[in-house]
């Protein structure tokens, strides 16, 4: 299974809920646990001040992004790292391909990276004959299953322990009743050999400090430290929005991101990578490449409202709290970034038409923005993209006309009252079939009966 784009969101979401109810069970349990951890962790700090600070640092960086990118490039180069610039996914893959050919790379180990999912790194390297292995336990599991991640932080949270038991039984020969400890041990043994043999380690980057040229990475397993330390070449693919001005600023982001994602004070392992191994060091990669990736990010930056989404630190808090995401998990969204954050970056990164109907995959309840550590106004941006969709004629014609008619009626009290009295006599089921706006709503809901009198009439007569 691979992503086919957000276009089939409605069908895929319905199919998941209907045919795989166990996915909802797993996703809801995992996201509720993540969110409970966040609530606890935020209770220990002055979370509002942390979030204001993080919002302002990110907004500051994005407002001077050109300067910070140049500074980071200069510093990384001085550290001995090689910096590449990729305008598109194809560019990034071509850069990786050149490195693979130049060094005769036969095998690669990968640290979990959403950007590498976005770029399609695994499929490309495999097409070049490179053996690629995901090393994060969750990513390893879904790689064996041939599935994409269903959550930014927990890529395999849609799977139950029994799903994993069956998979490991088939692939690694563990007993069908093995406990998670035994399963993890089998994965450790299988992956250890791959770590030691790999020529190339590929990672993303959570933050890139411009003043020192430092790529910062957060994790709990140690696989990122291994992927960036053992192979002779390390390539970090980093989105251009990941810049922070100074290494000392990373202190706030490492802590806030961990608290927002999993409720920890910090990830159990953090890597700060400046460049290749130095003369006084006994190990570490001989070459470090940093690929700065645009792939639609400058389109987001150019949007006067949606640029704020570039502050995202990919903690997954908005997915965890989202009542819509919790029903299906990430696969139904049809592309790498699911949930509320995915729905507001897809229209710029994929194009609005391609991203439809994701801006509508929300009830606009606003829970996401309440938990966002960098205060992205997610509901406002969902509405922003909905407005653009209407402007560009991407919504059904009847919906556009219906909304225009409503706008006219709502400005004229007499007409509004007259229309209301007519509508009250139309059964809602029929209305639902006639009006696409209601059709989606009515699919999962039964209709109440209309009142004989309008609210206005009742108000005038005196409501008891």
């Amino acid at each position: 299974m691979s992503f086919t784009g957000p276009g089939n969101y409605r069908e895929e979401a319905a199919k998941t809920i209907r045919d795989k109810p166990e996915v909802r069970t797993s996703i809801t349990a995992a996201t509720r646990a993540f969110d409970a951890h966040r609530v606890h962790a935020w209770g220990q700090i002055d979370a509002d001040r942390w979030r204001d600070w993080a919002r302002d640092v990110k907004s500051h960086v994005l407002g001077h992004l050109d300067e910070y990118l140049e500074q980071a490039e200069e510093q990384l180069t001085a550290n001995g790292a090689r910096v590449h610039w990729a305008e598109t996914a194809e560019d990034a893959l071509a850069i990786l391909g050149d490195i693979v050919r130049e060094h005769g790379v036969e095998s690669a180990v990968k640290a979990k990276s959403m950007l590498s999912e976005e770029l399609g790194v695994n499929a490309h390297l495999e097409s070049l004959g490179v053996h690629v292995r995901e090393t994060d336990l969750g990513e390893y599991i879904i790689q064996l299953l041939g599935q994409p991640p269903s959550h930014i932080v927990g890529p395999a949270i849609h799977l139950s322990v029994d799903d994993c038991r069956r998979l490991f039984h088939e692939r690694l020969g563990t007993p069908l009743d093995a406990e998670p400890d035994e399963l993890a041990g089998a994965a450790r043994d299988a992956l250890r050999a791959e770590f030691l043999a790999a020529d190339l380690g590929i990672s993303g980057g959570n933050f890139l400090a411009a003043d020192t040229g430092t790529v910062a990475l957060i994790e709990n397993e140690g696989n990122i430290r291994l992927s960036t330390s053992l192979p002779r070449i390390h390539v970090a693919c980093v989105g251009i929005e990941k810049l922070v001005p100074k290494l000392e600023d990373v202190s706030g982001f490492l802590q806030l991101t961990a608290r927002a994602a999993t409720g920890q004070p910090i990830g159990n392992f953090v890597s700060l990578i400046q460049g290749p191994r130095k003369n006084d060091e006994v190990d570490g990669p001989e070459e470090v490449h940093v690929v700065l990736v645009d792939n639609g990010r400058t389109k987001l930056l150019a949007d006067d409202a949606a640029w704020e989404a570039l502050r995202c630190v990919r903690c997954g808090a908005c997915l965890n709290i989202c009542p819509v995401y919790r029903q299906t998990g990430g696969h139904a969204y049809g592309w790498t970034y699911s949930g509320p954050i995915g729905a507001i970056i897809a229209p710029a990164m994929l194009g609005l038409e391609e991203a439809m109907p994701l801006p509508y995959a929300s009830s606009l309840c606003g829970a996401c923005t309440d938990v966002c550590p960098v205060r992205i106004p997610i509901p406002e941006l969902l509405v922003h993209w909905r407005e653009k969709a209407v402007e560009q004629g991407l919504t059904p014609m009847t919906e556009t006309m219906g909304l225009k008619a409503y706008a006219k009626l709502a400005q004229k009290p007499d007409l509004f009252a007259a229309a209301g009295s007519v509508l009250r006599h139309v059964p809602l089921e029929l209305g639902g079939r006639a009006l696409p706006v209601l059709a989606g709503w009515m699919q999962e809901r039964s209709a109440p009966k209309s009142s004989k009198k309008s609210f206005l009439q009742m108000w005038k007569e005196g409501i008891e």
Partner: protein
């Protein structure tokens, strides 16, 4: 024009009419409660994250502790910067086969419960061993992560690792397991400057 110039050009165009936001200043780790003493805070968080804490008044006492601790192990991989008294009396093993790794931390951070592992100590002995013993001098404990990063920035190796607990994962059914890839057992030995 290069990809670099085109990307920077698009960034500049996007920002041409955008009002810039000031940097808000340094991160002060705002918290309602006063922090514990640095060493106690470090110990508390490391233990909460699944690490083990050993407190020793000085290097000699730490060396004596190590001699008895390592009786259970057949060999060890030892970091480059570990001073002579703290090198275990065991045959040297390769990091990928030794049951024990011993490192010296460059420092530690009370605010996050982190041990600061410098690449100059050798990364393999910090990562491949199932049990990792890390010595840290209590005088090298920073109160905040920001403070630590400001000092580190003056003398950066190719890589720094913050180790704040054993390797762990909850990727299988959200059930916590330890020792997935890195050390499943982390023992931090906090050494004082006493006699």
């Amino acid at each position: 024009m290069s990809a670099r110039d085109r990307i920077l050009g698009r960034v500049r165009e996007a920002l041409s009419e955008r009002t810039a936001v000031e940097h808000p200043g340094s991160f002060e780790g705002w918290r309602p409660a006063a922090p514990a003493l640095p060493v106690d805070g470090l110990a508390h968080l490391l233990e909460a994250a699944g690490g083990e804490i050993v407190r020793q008044p000085n290097v000699d006492a730490a060396a004596a502790w190590l001699a008895s601790f390592c009786a259970d192990f057949g060999s060890s991989a030892v970091g480059e910067t570990v001073p002579e008294p703290l090198r275990p009396p065991l045959p040297a093993g390769a990091p990928d086969t030794a049951p024990l790794g011993v490192s010296l931390a460059r420092g530690a951070v009370a605010e996050t419960g982190s041990l600061i592992m410098d690449a100059r100590d050798g990364r393999r002995a910090q990562l491949l061993v199932p049990t990792h013993v890390v010595f840290v001098r209590t005088r090298d404990v920073y109160v905040t992560l920001r403070e630590a990063l400001i000092e580190l920035a003056d003398d950066l190796p190719s890589a720094i690792g913050f180790h704040s607990g054993p390797s762990k994962s909850a990727d299988i059914g959200q059930i916590l397991v330890k020792g997935v890839h890195g050390p499943g057992r982390l023992v931090a030995v906090l050494m004082g400057d006493g006699d």
